[in-house]
Symmetry: C2
Subunit: 296 residues, 2 copies
C-alpha cells in the first residue's frame, strides 16, 4: 500500500494524546488534517506534514474518518456542533474518557447527524501510541470498525471491537480504570513510608513491579470465581485480608504515614465477613460491591 | 553438590506457604525436618521424605537452619519458646507478615537466645515457591544471609538481602503490599459493574492485565519524582485525576455498584490540589500521605 492509498484522516483535539494520534497517522503515511480550538498546538504537526484546518468544518470535510480526542463527550459535541451537517456518511471515532451515558448520548447525536459512530479508549499513555502491543478498544457500529480496522491499528497494534453498543468502551474503561488510582495511592503510601525511614522510593520499584505481575497472574483466578459465584476454593480468604487490616495502624504508628484512605477497604472486608464470606476468596468482595439494583 | 552436602533445614509451620517451602527444600535434596502444631499437616511432607519432628525442640535441634512460617511474630515466638535454649548458634529465618516493630522484637528475642536472625517475606503465592523469578527478601544479619543464600535461593531464584536492620523486610512488605487490596478492590468493582450489564468478569482480565503492565511501567517515573521532590514535569496531573473523580458517581448511577470506598482517594486529590499540587504529577499525593512526623 502506498501513501496515496491511505485513508485520509482528521484528528480534532491536539492535547498530548491527540497530538500523538495525529503523529502516528502521519508516520504511517495517512493524509492527516488536524484542528485544535487553540491553533498553536497544530504547528508541530504541520511541520511534520499535517494539514492544519482553520475551522472544524473544514477539518471534518477533509476526511472520511474523523477521530476526536477532546476531554469529554460534552466538549466533543460542542466542538463538532458547527460541523454537524458535514458529518453525514463519515466515520466518527471518539477517543476520550466519559461515562456510558455520555457515550450513548454522543451516539444518538452522531446518528442524528448521519455519522457512523465508534466510541473508543486508548488504554495507555501518549508515548505508547503506535506501538504494536498498545491497546485501544472501540464499541459501536461493527461495520465502521471493520471498514477502518487497518487505519485504527496504526494507533496501536492491539485494537479491539467490544460490541455494537456504543457505550461498552466507556463501561470497560470505568471497569478496568478503577484499579489505577487505588493502586497508585498504595504505591505512594509505600513510598512515603520508606521516606520516613530515609529510604528512597526507587528502592521499592522492582519489588512493586513484581507484586503487580503477581496480582496480574491472579486476575483470571478471581474472574473465574466471580463469574461462577463460587468463592469456596480460596487461595486468599477475606479473613486473611482482615488479619492484615491491623497493619494500616501499625504503619501509621511506625512511619507517621496517613493510611486513613484505606479504612473503607477494611470496612468492605468486615461487611463481606458479616455476609458469610470470611472463609471465602477475597474476590467475594464483588458480592458486597454489587448494588441491589444489579443483583435484582 | 550431592544431597549429602545440602544443609539440613527445619521448617516450622505447615500452612499452605510453609508446606510449599518444605517441599521446595525436599525437592532440592535438603534433609528436611518439619513440625506443625497440629501434626496432621506433616503427613504429606513425610510421604515425600521429610522427617516429622514430634516436638518443636526436636525440630530445632535437627538443623542449623530453621525457617518458620507461622502467621505472626507473636505466633512464632510462642511456638519457639519451648526450644529457646536450643537456638544458640543456629540461623533462624522467619517468613511471616508483621510490623517492623514486631520484627525488631523478634530480633531482640532471637539475639537474647543466641540465634543468628533474618526476617524475610515471600512476595508471591505458595504455588510460586521455588520458581526462578520468585522474589523473597530478607533483612537482618548479613553474615547469616551470605552463609545461607544458596539454601534460601531454593525457595525462589530472586532472593535479596535488604540490609542489616532486621525490620527492613517488614517495612518493605508493608510498603509494597499497600497496593494489593486497593488494586484488587478496583478490579472487583469493575467486575461488579460488568455483571450489572450481564457481562462476565473474565472479559476484562486481559485489559486489566495490560493496565497493570502500564502502571508498572510508570512506577520508575513516579519514584524519581518522589525521590527528587520535583513534581512539575507531569504526565498525569492531580487535576487530571480530579476530573475523573466524577466517574465514581456516574458508575454507581449506571450500574448500582458501590463506589463509596473510593471517596477518600478523591479527598486526597482535593487535599493535594489545596496544597498547590493541582498542576503537579499525581505522585505528589506522596506529600499528602507523608505524616508530619516523617516530614519533621
Amino acid at each position: 500500500m502506498t501513501a496515496a492509498d491511505r485513508t485520509p484522516v482528521t484528528v480534532l483535539g491536539l492535547g498530548a494524546m491527540g497530538s500523538a494520534l495525529a503523529e502516528a497517522f502521519l508516520a504511517a503515511g495517512h493524509p492527516t488534517t488536524v484542528w485544535n480550538r487553540t491553533p498553536g498546538r497544530a504547528a508541530p504537526l504541520a511541520a511534520k506534514g499535517a494539514r492544519h484546518a482553520p475551522t472544524v468544518r473544514e477539518a471534518v470535510a477533509a476526511a472520511p474518518l474523523v477521530v476526536t480526542c477532546l476531554t469529554t463527550f460534552e466538549d466533543t459535541r460542542r466542538a463538532l456542533e458547527p460541523a454537524a451537517h458535514d458529518l453525514a456518511g463519515r466515520a466518527l471515532v471518539t477517543l476520550n474518557s466519559g461515562s456510558p451515558a455520555g457515550a450513548r448520548a454522543m451516539a444518538a447525536w452522531a446518528a442524528g447527524n448521519g455519522a457512523r459512530f465508534l466510541a473508543g479508549a486508548v488504554k495507555n499513555v501518549p508515548s505508547a501510541v503506535g506501538a504494536p502491543d498498545t491497546l485501544l478498544y472501540y464499541s459501536g457500529d461493527r461495520t465502521v470498525f471493520d471498514a477502518h480496522a487497518a487505519d485504527l491499528r496504526v494507533l496501536g497494534g492491539d485494537t479491539v471491537h467490544l460490541g455494537d453498543e456504543a457505550d461498552l468502551a466507556a463501561l470497560y474503561e470505568m471497569a478496568v480504570g478503577a484499579m489505577l488510582l487505588p493502586a497508585l495511592t498504595g504505591f505512594f503510601q509505600g513510598a512515603a513510608a520508606l521516606q520516613a525511614r530515609g529510604l528512597q522510593a526507587r528502592t521499592m520499584v522492582r519489588f512493586a513491579g513484581k507484586w503487580l505481575d503477581m496480582i496480574s497472574a491472579l486476575l483470571p483466578v478471581y474472574a473465574a470465581e466471580i463469574d461462577s459465584g463460587d468463592y469456596t476454593d480460596a487461595a486468599s480468604t477475606v479473613d486473611l485480608f482482615r488479619a492484615g487490616a491491623a497493619h494500616d495502624a501499625e504503619l501509621t504508628a511506625e512511619t507517621g504515614v496517613d493510611t486513613a484512605w484505606a479504612a473503607p477497604l477494611n470496612d468492605l472486608l468486615e461487611r463481606a465477613a458479616a455476609a458469610g464470606h470470611g472463609g471465602h476468596s477475597v474476590s467475594a468482595l464483588t458480592e458486597v460491591l454489587r448494588g441491589p439494583r444489579a443483583a435484582a
